[in-house]
């Protein structure tokens, strides 16, 4: 993965682009509108800084593009690569539908198998497995696009997602502190 500082630079560039677009298009924004714009620009900027190399970033971008009011912003931040990125995100959505039907079939088979085991040892390990399963489900709901990933890719994506989120939070915090300092002068 790229060194964190270049990721932060990429993110900052795209985020500021998005912010400028928002403030130029609407002069009078309510607090909530502005906050949503800031958050959305930040999320999309971070996702596009990963250049569609990760599934979570593609899922985030495709979710953001679904809303018509966000489309202009998303396209501006994505820039010239927007067409190819959108195509990549679209293919992800189609892939999800195929995987879901396979999963339903697999689940129905495994439920039948689980009822047979009854010994103590197997109980303990099956409880542990169920915990892991439950926690994995929660993690899938937190990582964008997580619903259609295998366990392995989910963990890989989580690693990348956490690193990106951390970089995003760092940059946002620095900007907030700097703006506060500037406003005081």
């Amino acid at each position: 993965m790229r060194p964190p500082t270049s990721l932060k630079k990429e993110f900052l560039k795209k985020w500021i682009m998005g912010l400028q677009l928002c403030s130029s298009s609407k002069k009078e924004m309510s607090f909530l509108e502005r906050k949503k714009a800031i958050k959305l620009s930040a999320d999309v900027a971070m996702a596009s800084a990963r250049n569609a190399t990760t599934r979570w970033s593609r899922a985030l971008i495709s979710n953001a593009s679904k809303d018509d009011s966000n489309k202009g912003l998303v396209e501006c931040i994505l820039g010239p690569e927007s067409e190819s990125l959108k195509r990549a995100s679209m293919s992800l959505v189609l892939c999800n539908k195929r995987n879901r039907s396979k999963k339903i079939l697999r689940k129905s088979c495994s439920i039948r198998r689980a009822r047979k085991s009854s010994s103590q040892m197997v109980m303990a390990s099956s409880i542990a497995k169920r915990l892991v399963k439950k926690r994995t489900q929660v993690l899938k709901s937190l990582v964008p696009g997580g619903g259609s990933m295998s366990e392995f890719s989910l963990i890989e994506e989580t690693l990348d997602y956490i690193l990106s989120l951390r970089a995003q939070v760092d940059v946002m915090r620095h900007l907030a502190n700097a703006t506060e300092l500037l406003n005081r002068k």
């Binding site: 800031i38 892991v132 989120l165 907030a176």
Partner: protein
């Protein structure tokens, strides 16, 4: 590693070994400050997953709080090019 222990159920995809998954989980362990600071090697997978989810939720909340803060701060000062240039030079 017997084939029965393999977790991958997709035909045609190379079997992901338990070692690879354990490797990823340990990497995840390194990232999460809660677990890293506790200095114990034996952390169960479900604990790692739980702390990961909590960590991600915290990060989401921080992004939300920072967006709130920035929204209030930027209300008075528009992000015109001058300010953006100053901030960019401060951060790089």
């Amino acid at each position: 590693m017997s084939s029965r222990r393999s977790r991958s159920r997709q035909p045609g995809v190379s079997r992901i070994s338990d070692d690879q998954i354990a490797d990823l989980v340990s990497k995840l362990q390194q990232l999460i400050p809660e677990i890293r600071n506790r200095r114990s090697d034996k952390v169960s997978a479900s604990k790692v997953l739980q702390e990961t989810c909590n960590y991600i939720r915290n990060l989401h909340r921080e992004v939300d709080d920072l967006s709130d803060r920035l929204s209030a701060l930027l209300a008075s000062t528009d992000t015109d090019s001058d300010q953006a240039a100053i901030i960019r030079s401060l951060l790089m």
